[in-house]
């Protein structure tokens, strides 16, 4: 027992050795599988060990505010700009983008497939009262979804039982939607990498309103002196480098590219 | 040094009922003192009061040494022996370990007392698995192993067969010969007559009669003691 404890303490001591950057990222970044190929490449190129905290955008911003992470990588422009304006982050750097898509049962009872805009597709779902799963966790995806509902003129509070806020990450919400044969808004990458699709299919995409930009924000080391600003800068430089472009562009699932490097 | 006790107006009450006292007396134990009396007379409580483990409702018990020394120089054997869930060897060693006796000395004393109590072959047996007689002998050995000045025994032979009773009595005689004073209760008048040097006769929580054994058994001073010795029911 004593020896085990000693070994345990040794491991604790050694984990702090390599230079690490703690990065709060959105669930879509992890669930898409991109992090699994990107992190080893970062380690190889820069020697940095990036520790990922996979949370919703809302919580990621809170972690940055408290100084519990060194940087954040999220996708909710308005909230990000507020974060930087309040001085919690130094600046906002756009890294990559993809888009949101509307997922739903392949039978498509609300006829989402034939709509012209994202708002219109939500409207028909509301009209048929087909079940709809909302992230409900103040994440980037959730914020985008609420903005879309706002565009339809409907209040999410008044939507009724068919509108289900699950308060969970992208994967868990997709699991729920799969179980209920419900509609759901997802980012494209998480959807493509999701393993439990069942009857679900991608029904609507392509509206510019569904654009999804990911940005990197270093936490302000003037406020949080323990933040390793130099390591964070190294990471940021890598994320906008050609090496990152190759990794992001090269990451495909079933021949489909999940993210596009930079900003449009 | 001779251990003497002084009891001043000692009382023990439980739930408003007086169990013992008031008792005021000097106790100068020598040899074997037998506490006699009918059931409910307060014999066990009396022993516990002398040992200092009973909460008093009034009065005071003092030995002619400090409380700490008194407790260290005493041992108590309960009516149903309490066995530590350990081996016989560990049970015997336990009182010595408590006072930080050096290990080699513990080993010698344990071996010696195991021999005296006839438990040498059972040293590595778990104590709770012993027979009733063996348990009582172990409890007695464990009480005597620290060479106490005074040992209290509460009905040590209550449920034992003749042979175990004889072995226990032999151990008690031996201990007395070695200078230990014994204060014990018993129901068995035969045993009382065999062992007693002094007798204390308790009735209704009070010392009704006391004195040297030969005189007490030959000519009890009170009619109740007389009746008790004759085997009548005494209330």
């Amino acid at each position: 027992m004593i020896r085990l404890l000693f070994a345990a303490l040794m491991t604790l001591a050694t984990t702090a050795q390599a230079e690490t950057v703690r990065l709060a990222v959105t669930t879509s970044f992890q669930n898409s599988g991109l992090s699994d190929v990107m992190l080893p490449q970062i380690k190889a190129d820069t020697g940095l060990v990036v520790e990922l905290l996979v949370v919703g955008t809302g919580q990621a911003l809170r972690l940055g505010e408290a100084g519990d992470v060194d940087a954040i990588l999220v996708h909710s422009k308005a909230a990000e700009e507020e974060f930087v304006a309040a001085g919690f982050g130094t600046h906002r750097r756009e890294i990559m983008y993809n888009d949101f898509v509307v997922i739903g049962p392949a039978s498509d009872p609300a006829d989402v497939t034939n709509q012209q805009t994202a708002a219109a597709s939500l409207k028909v779902i509301a009209a048929t009262q087909a079940p709809f799963v909302s992230r409900g966790d103040n994440s980037g995806t959730h914020k985008k979804e609420r903005a879309l509902w706002q565009a339809t003129g409907l209040l999410t509070e008044d939507l009724g039982d068919w509108y289900k806020e699950v308060g969970a990450g992208m994967g868990a919400a997709l699991n729920t939607a799969a179980g209920l044969d419900a509609y759901i808004l997802s980012d494209r990458a998480s959807w493509l990498n999701f393993g439990n699709k069942r009857e679900l299919a991608m029904l609507f995409a392509g509206d510019p309103a569904l654009f999804n930009q990911y940005a990197f924000i270093p936490v302000n080391s003037a406020l949080q002196p323990h933040v390793n600003a130099q390591a964070v800068a190294t990471l940021e430089n890598w994320l906008v480098s050609d090496a990152a472009r190759a990794v992001i562009a090269g990451y495909t699932i079933n021949g489909e590219t999940l993210f596009t490097f930079g900003a449009p | 040094m001779q251990m003497k006790a002084n009891l001043k107006d000692v009382r023990v009450k439980r739930r408003g009922k007086t169990i013992l006292g008031p008792i005021t007396c000097d106790l100068d134990p020598a040899g074997i003192t037998i506490v006699l009396g009918p059931n409910g007379a307060g014999k066990t409580t009396f022993l516990k009061v002398l040992h200092g483990v009973e909460r008093l409702s009034g009065g005071d018990v003092s030995w002619n040494v400090s409380d700490e020394q008194a407790r260290r120089a005493q041992a108590y054997v309960f009516q149903s022996p309490i066995m530590l869930r350990r081996t016989v060897r560990q049970n015997l060693a336990y009182p010595l370990q408590l006072i930080a006796t050096p290990k080699p000395q513990i080993a010698t004393r344990v071996a010696s007392w195991a021999a005296k109590t006839g438990l040498t072959d059972a040293l590595d047996v778990s104590a709770p698995r012993l027979s009733g007689g063996e348990k009582q002998k172990l409890a007695l050995g464990r009480a005597l192993i620290r060479d106490p000045k005074v040992v209290f025994l509460d009905e040590p032979c209550a449920n034992l067969d003749g042979r175990s009773t004889r072995e226990i009595e032999a151990l008690l005689m031996k201990a007395t010969a070695d200078g230990t004073h014994i204060i014990m209760t018993t129901h068995n008048l035969g045993q009382a007559k065999r062992l007693a040097d002094n007798v204390i006769f308790l009735l209704d929580g009070q010392i009704h009669d006391r004195g040297p054994a030969p005189a007490f058994f030959a000519k009890p001073r009170s009619p109740q003691a007389q009746a008790f010795l004759e085997g009548d029911i005494v209330e």
Binding site: L12, T15, G67, N175 | R85, P95, V125
Partner: protein, 234 residues
């Protein structure tokens, strides 16, 4: 049903191939939970025993509080530890958030009341048996506690195992304070939550079976050890 078979097959392959990630995660699970168990036992065993032998004014209240703490929701513990260890919290300077140490702290808080409560119940019985003898021998409190712990060790083993079971299977608190960081704070339960989130039920279930096997193995090993000890001694 197919999912369960796929999970079994996945568990089998993970174990047979000694998957590097699996080994890493499993060792971390053991490291965190066993360390937490050791610390919690060092606190809870003497404390539970002490509660059994001491009569003091707030004893009943303390025992009631202990039993209530036993049902402490791990998520709440996690949240509180998180807020305490956060850089903006009172212990932020220690930089412990999102480390195995933080997970150990949370687990110690969760399992200590459980172990102490079971200990108290077991020790109360033993104390009733030993009470007169230990009082008569004029033992100090500490000697009494040591004697009861030594002689009641098998009951205490059960108490500790209950604590270990709760620790190794716990997910809510360590997810919050550990952050489920790959290679740093990911353990079996948080990995299961993650794989479930990805919709990879086979892998999640596979990890689940490994977790169950691990809990059984530790229980079994300890029982075998305690039995050989018993036979050797008695």
């Amino acid at each position: 049903m197919t999912d369960i078979w796929a999970g079994l097959a996945s568990a089998f392959w993970l174990v047979v191939s000694l998957d590097a990630d699996l080994v890493d995660i499993t060792l971390r699970s053991l490291q965190v939970s066993l360390t937490a168990l050791l610390i919690a036992s060092l606190i809870a065993l003497p404390f539970g025993t002490w509660l059994a032998i001491r009569r003091f004014r707030f004893r009943r209240a303390t025992i009631a509080a202990l039993n209530a703490l036993m049902g402490l929701p791990p998520v709440v513990v996690g949240l509180i530890v998180y807020l305490l260890l956060s850089r903006s919290g009172p212990f932020g300077v220690l930089g412990l958030l999102f480390t195995p140490t933080a997970m150990i702290i949370a687990q110690v808080i969760i399992i200590t009341p459980l172990i102490a409560s079971i200990t108290h119940q077991a020790m109360r019985e033993l104390w009733a048996e030993y009470h007169d003898l230990l009082i008569s021998l004029n033992t100090s409190n500490w000697q009494r506690i040591r004697t009861l712990i030594f002689d009641g060790r098998r009951a205490l083993l059960t108490a500790s195992l209950a604590g270990f079971g709760r620790a190794i299977g716990e997910v809510g608190a360590i997810m919050i304070v550990g952050g489920n960081i790959d290679q740093a704070t990911r353990v079996l339960t948080t990995a299961i939550a993650l794989e479930t989130g990805k919709g990879d039920f086979a892998l999640a279930l596979g990890l689940g079976f490994v977790l169950i096997a691990l809990a059984l193995l530790v229980n079994f090993a300890i029982h075998v050890l305690s039995r050989t000890e018993r036979e050797g001694r008695w």
